[in-house]
């Protein structure tokens, strides 16, 4: 008999060994990947998200929980892909030109993936033209722009203007985030959403595409 609470707990405690072992046991017991993901792994990340927002836990615990979840999802992926469950959405993310900081971006990516998003990561120091060509050629619901440096957040404005000039602005929703980014800056550059951290980014992404 699988104790599902233990699997949720393994994610909350960031215990990758336990999350993998308990996921294997659940699969051996014939429980579907969708059920394992939806009923025990994701609730663990929801708990972690709430604890992070109230500062009961901090960045390291969030990172470890996301890693524990990721390790378990690797086991579920073959079955999940067979079930042809569509992703929650398609998200393309990158750190803007002139900025090479990626810890925040990587965490947003992890949180989105754990919430069922298909994420394309363009990396760091990405020029506006690159964002533009990816949006033109691909099919994405949301473009996420990250920056840590005060001087580089203006690149977000340039990217949005470049997309507008290319007639691509309406093809995608745009989310912005990073230490120097504020809601008022997001409004000023006409971004569709601002997220103060990775947990909020996952939540706002969901609400953006359900509008």
């Amino acid at each position: 008999m699988i104790n599902f609470d233990e699997l949720t707990k393994a994610v909350v405690e960031g215990d990758s060994d336990a999350s993998v072992e308990l996921t294997k046991k659940a699969m051996d017991a014939g429980i579907s990947a969708t059920e394992i993901l939806g009923r025990r792994l994701l609730p663990g990340m929801e708990i972690i998200g709430e604890q992070f927002e109230t500062q009961e836990i901090f960045f390291p615990e969030l990172l470890m929980a996301a890693n524990a979840m990721k390790a378990a999802v690797v086991l579920l992926r073959p079955e999940l892909s067979k079930s042809k469950t569509p992703p929650a959405g398609k998200y393309v993310i990158g750190t803007v030109e002139g900025d090479a900081h990626d810890i925040g971006k990587n965490l947003v990516k992890m949180m989105l993936e754990q919430n069922g998003w298909e994420v394309t990561d363009l990396g760091t120091d990405v020029p506006a033209e690159k964002f533009c060509s990816v949006i033109k050629e691909g099919s994405f619901d949301i473009l996420g722009l990250s920056a840590l440096l005060t001087v580089t957040i203006h690149a977000m404005d340039d990217i949005i203007k470049t997309l507008k000039a290319a007639g691509l602005r309406d093809k995608v929703k745009i989310m912005v985030g990073g230490a120097p980014v504020t809601q008022s800056f997001a409004d000023q550059i006409s971004a569709d959403a601002y997220a103060k951290d990775a947990v909020e980014a996952a939540r706002k992404a969901k609400s953006l595409i359900s509008r």
Partner: protein, 358 residues
């Protein structure tokens, strides 16, 4: 001596800085934040869009010295109530470069980042031990020393020199290992505690030697030294910081970082520790830090996305009841809110902002 205010004004400034370190009530100092505009290398990286790996050969000492002299030639000695200080090329992540990380220049980002060194984790302690014993041979250490020597000769008679921006032992180890790797190791202390403590200890010692070298080369100012905020003190005076605090929990901060901050600041007569408002109420254990170390002052930069000034005031007042406090406002709104609360502070305060709000 000063183009603005004259000798009497300067004598008053020295006196107010002495009072500041003693945290006397009613000492309120103000100045403009302007140090970002005074690093010619930072300006050059932006203007010339210098992007990619940044090696020691790219740091042209003669040009940089000339550019720095030009940047300071029209400046008065005083910036509000503090001294205008010269810092050598603070856009360079000096400590990370000295310990072997690769620097990457960000062009329009007007900044640099440090990427992990090409050294196996198992060899890092040996590498750092050798470095500590042979710092004078290190190319970045030499560049930094030569830079201070040149600036002291060119500008030292007019302006005080302060230590450059140096990130702390946690930042150094984080840069060496990669920040996520560092965090994951801290979370598995059974396998990593001794390993990390040795690296942090060696980095703290390299930090101290590097800071002292700069102060020696700068030759001091009027019988003392100035820190990066332009505060003069009659002894070795540095600014210390640890940005890695943004990535750790209070527990990890206490276990891994705090002991080395104590070691670092205890090596100087007057140390001021820089913190961010986003973490000052949670991660930075400034209470224990104040009790366990000889730290003289604390500084809080108000983050754009940090708590509102009103929410921070309890913590700021508590800090100031123990130590002199430097508050850096990022926006005019923050500066205005701080200014309104100035009469509430029980000790000495230096408030800087982009606009001068005396």
């Amino acid at each position: 001596m000063s183009e603005k205010g004259g000798p009497d004004r300067e004598i008053g400034v020295f006196q107010s800085h002495r009072h500041f370190w003693n945290n006397l009530p009613g000492i309120v100092l103000c100045c403009r934040l302007n140090y970002y505009s005074q690093d010619p290398l930072r300006t050059r990286i932006y203007d010339e869009n210098i992007k990619g790996e940044f090696t020691p050969e790219m740091l042209d000492l003669e040009k940089l010295t000339d550019d720095t002299i030009r940047a300071y030639q029209d400046l008065p000695l005083l910036n509000g109530d503090v001294f205008e200080v010269v810092q050598f090329a603070f856009v360079v992540p000096w400590m990370e470069a000295i310990i072997g990380c690769h620097l990457y220049s960000l062009g329009r980002g007007a900044s640099m980042v440090a990427n992990p060194a090409d050294i196996e984790p198992g060899d890092l302690a040996q590498h750092l031990r050798y470095l500590l014993d042979n710092l004078d041979e290190n190319v970045w250490f030499k560049k930094l020393g030569d830079g201070y020597q040149a600036l002291a000769e060119a500008l030292g008679a007019k302006f005080p020199l302060a230590n450059t921006l140096m990130r702390g032992p946690g930042d150094m180890v984080g840069a060496l290992l990669g920040h996520e790797n560092f965090i994951e190791r801290m979370l598995k202390p059974a396998d990593n505690k001794d390993f990390l403590n040795e690296l942090l200890d060696l980095c703290a010692k390299i930090y101290i030697k590097t800071a002292k070298m700069q102060l020696e080369r700068s030759k001091g100012f009027k019988g003392g030294y100035c820190n990066g905020w332009g505060l003069w003190a009659p002894g070795l005076n540095i600014r210390a910081q640890e940005d890695e605090a943004a990535f750790v929990s209070p527990k990890l901060y206490n276990e891994f970082l705090l002991p080395y901050h104590v070691q670092e600041v205890d090596a100087f007569d007057y140390s001021t520790f820089h913190m961010h408002s986003g973490y000052v109420m949670s991660v930075y254990n400034w209470r224990d830090f104040s009790k366990k170390s000889s730290i003289k002052a604390l500084q809080v930069s108000l983050d754009l996305n940090g708590p509102a000034v009103e929410d921070l005031m309890g913590t700021l007042l508590e800090i100031n009841s123990e130590k002199p406090l430097i508050i850096g406002s990022s926006t005019d709104e923050q500066a205005k809110a701080v200014k309104e609360h100035i009469p509430d502070f029980p000790g000495s305060v230096l408030h800087y902002s982009s606009s001068f709000l005396k």
